[in-house]
Symmetry: C2
Subunit: 385 residues, 2 copies
C-alpha cells in the first residue's frame, strides 16, 4: 500500500478506519458499527476533522483522549450521545482549568477509535494520528503514559443518565478501580477521559500513526481490487502478522463480569488445520490463543478473529457459534514487551499461567515451514502499512 | 436545663457534644471517640470555633456539610486526617468556584457531629448550629435538603490513599449509589461533602439548634449533680422521649455489607421487663425495635441504646454480648413524618414490613400506665433542652 498519512478525516474514511480499528482492537475497544454511525453523523453536521501527526503536536496544547469504558456487550446498546461526550470535555476543561487543543484516541480499537473522531468533529478540534496502546486493552492503566510513569491526571466519567464525575486518582491502578466500579454502577458503560496531557507528553508517549494504519488496513480489507481469498494474506504481509488457525467456532462462552465481557471460544480446525483445536480467551479483548493446548499467541501481542471468506474482523461480542474464522496475530508495540509493559498487560497480569513469548518466535517454531523469517518482522510501531 | 445556645465551641464542649450526638445518632454517625480526639486537637491548634445560628446565616455564603461516609466499623480504624478533610474542602471550592462561608454537620450523630467542628477549626470558619437530619441516617439522600427537593449539588469524596472525586450526580439517589460503591472501593470509609448550598437554602432546610441540643444532652449525662440512676429519666423528660426496655444483650449479629454495618441484637428483659424480649435491627443506625414481636419504635423516629447504669450511649459498633442496656426512643423531626420523609427513610424503604407509627402513639398504647401524656410530647425541632 502506498497510502499517505491521514491529514483530514471525512465521512468516506470512517468505514475504513472502523474496519482497521476492529482488527487492531483485537476484538475489543467497543462496537465499531455504532461508533462509525456516530462519527459519520458528527462529520456530516460539523465538517471534516483535521488530523495532526504526533511529531507535530504543540508542546503546551492539551491533548485529550476520550472514549468509552465498560463491557462492550453493554456499549453496543448504549453508545454515548454528543451531549454526554460534550459534557465530559467541559468537565475536563473545568478540572484542569485549560482549553482542549486536540483530541486523541486512548486506544486503537473499534468504537474507541471512532468516538474521538466524533468528539473532534463536534468540538471543531483536530485529532491526533496516534493512540496510547497501539491496540485495545481492557483496563484503564494499560496505556503508554502509565508505562512512562505518568499518572492518569484529571479523570472524567459521564453516563447516559447525566451523572458526571471528575476524579484525581493517585495512580493508574486506582483510576481503573474507581472507574470500573463507577461504570458498573452507571449501568455498565460510560464516557471516559483520562491521561489528558500537554503535547510534549503526548508526543513522548503516543504510538504514532495508528489512525492512518487503521484506515489503511480497512481500505485493504474493503478494496475491490484485492480478491476475497487474498485479503488476509496481503494484510499479514503488510503488517508482519501471522495466520494462526482456520476453524469453525464450536463453543462460545461469554459473560459480563466485574464490568468486563469475559469468555472463551473453542474452534475446530478446517482446511489445513482439520483435526486441530484452537482456544481463545478474552476479557473485552482477545488475550490468549492456544493451538492443541500450546500457546500460539498471547497478550500483549495482538490476536484478531477474521471472517475466513472476507477477512472482516469479528469482535469478542459478535463471535458466534458455527462461524468460520481465521485467527491471526501481530507483534505489539515494543513498549509492551519491556518489563513494565509485561507487568502491566502481560499474561500473568490477566491470570494466565504462561510466559510471554513473542508471536514471531512462537510462529517461527510452529509455522517456520510456511517460510516466514522472524527477523524480518516489523513491529507495529515501525509498520506504516 | 437552662443552658444557652452555643456561641462558640471550645475543647471543653467536645465531650458533651460527643456524648449527646451519640444519643441523637441512634447508634450511628461514626465513632464519637475518635471524632472527639480530632476535634479537640483541631481546637487546641487553631482556637475555638464560632457558632452561627441557622436563622443568622447570610443568604449568599456557601454552607458546606462535611463528614464521613461508610461503615462505622471501618471508620473507627480510619478516621480522616486534617489533610484529607482539607483536600475535600479545596475540591468543593474548585467544583463550585466559590469560597466556603461556613461548615455544617450533615447529621447529628457520633463522629459526624465532631468532624465538621474539626474542619471548621482547621479552616478558621464558623460552624452552623444545625444539621440536615436531626439524627443520623445511613444513606446520603436522607437529608432535609432532599425532602425539600434540592439535589446533592457538587459532591466530594476523598480517601486516605489520596484519591479525590468530585461528582455531579443527577439526584440524591444517584449520589448515594455512586458514593457507596466508591467508598467501598476506597476501603470502606471516606470523607464526603454534599448538599453544599448558599445560606438561604441552608436556612430553609437545616434543623436548627442540634449542636446545642447535643451539648445539652451530653452535659446532662456527664453532670456530677444528677444521680446516675436518674440521668436517663431526666433526659427523657427533657427530650419528650420514652424508655422502651431494660435488658441484657443475649445475641448480637453484625456484618459489613454493601458499605454498611448491618445487624441485629436481641435483649432479654431485666427489672420490670424480666421475661420479655426486645429485638433491635440496624443499618449503621438503629432502625427498628420490637418488644415481644410488637413494634416499639421504628425509623424515622430515633432509637438509642444507653448503658443502664450510667446513661452513656452505645453505638451499633460497640453493643456487645452481655451488656445491660436501656433502650429509649424519641420522636423525629416532623419533616421525616411527611409522605416524602417516610418514603425516604421510613420502615418500608429499609425493607421492614411494618407501618410507621409515631413512637408517642406506640408508647401511649404500651406505656400509658406510666403516666406519659402523648399530647404533651415535643418534637425534636421544638425541644430545645
Amino acid at each position: 500500500m502506498t497510502n499517505q498519512q491521514l491529514t483530514s478525516i471525512t465521512e468516506a474514511d470512517i468505514d475504513d478506519i472502523a474496519i482497521g480499528a476492529a482488527v487492531l482492537g483485537t476484538g475489543g475497544g467497543g462496537d465499531p458499527h455504532v461508533g462509525s454511525l456516530h462519527a459519520k453523523r458528527a462529520i456530516r453536521n460539523h465538517g471534516a476533522v483535521t488530523v495532526l501527526q504526533v511529531e507535530d503536536l504543540d508542546d503546551e496544547g492539551l491533548v485529550v483522549p476520550v472514549g468509552m469504558i465498560g463491557a462492550p456487550s453493554v456499549s453496543i446498546e448504549k453508545i454515548a450521545g454528543a451531549e454526554e461526550i460534550g459534557r465530559a470535555l467541559d468537565l475536563l476543561e473545568q478540572g484542569t482549568g485549560r482549553k482542549i487543543a486536540a483530541i486523541m484516541p486512548i486506544e486503537i480499537g473499534g468504537g474507541n477509535s471512532l468516538i474521538p473522531i466524533a468528539a473532534a468533529a463536534e468540538r471543531g478540534l483536530p485529532i491526533v494520528d496516534g493512540d496510547a496502546m497501539g491496540r485495545a486493552f481492557p483496563e484503564a492503566q494499560m496505556v503508554t503514559f502509565h508505562l512512562a510513569g505518568y499518572g492518569p491526571g484529571a479523570v472524567v466519567l459521564v453516563d447516559a443518565q447525566g451523572n458526571a464525575v471528575l476524579s484525581y486518582p493517585v495512580d493508574g491502578a486506582w483510576s481503573e478501580r474507581l472507574a470500573r466500579v463507577l461504570t458498573f454502577e452507571m449501568g455498565g458503560s460510560a464516557t471516559m477521559i483520562d491521561y489528558a496531557y500537554p503535547g510534549s507528553v503526548a508526543r513522548e508517549c503516543a504510538i504514532p500513526g495508528t489512525l492512518t494504519m487503521a484506515r489503511d488496513i480497512g481500505r485493504l480489507l474493503r478494496s475491490s481490487t484485492v480478491r476475497d481469498d487474498e485479503r488476509i494474506d496481503v494484510m499479514l504481509a503488510k503488517l508482519g502478522g501471522f495466520r494462526l488457525f482456520d476453524g469453525k467456532v464450536s463453543e462460545i462462552e461469554r459473560a459480563i463480569q466485574g464490568g468486563f465481557t469475559r469468555g472463551r471460544a473453542v474452534l475446530d480446525g478446517t482446511g489445513s488445520d482439520r483435526g486441530a483445536t484452537f482456544e481463545l480467551s478474552f476479557q473485552n479483548e482477545m488475550l490468549l490463543g492456544t493451538r492443541n493446548g500450546q500457546v500460539a499467541a498471547v497478550t500483549p501481542d495482538l490476536i484478531a478473529v477474521l471472517d475466513q471468506s472476507t477477512g472482516q474482523p469479528i469482535t469478542t461480542e459478535t463471535v458466534r457459534y458455527g462461524a468460520r474464522v481465521t485467527i491471526v496475530a501481530f507483534p505489539c508495540n515494543p513498549q509492551w514487551r519491556t518489563e513494565r509493559g509485561l507487568e502491566t498487560a502481560g499474561p500473568a497480569y490477566f491470570g494466565y499461567d504462561v510466559p510471554f513469548t513473542p508471536v514471531e518466535q512462537l510462529a517461527a517454531g510452529a509455522l517456520a515451514p510456511a517460510g516466514t523469517d522472524p527477523e524480518s518482522v516489523l513491529t507495529l510501531q515501525e509498520a506504516r502499512v
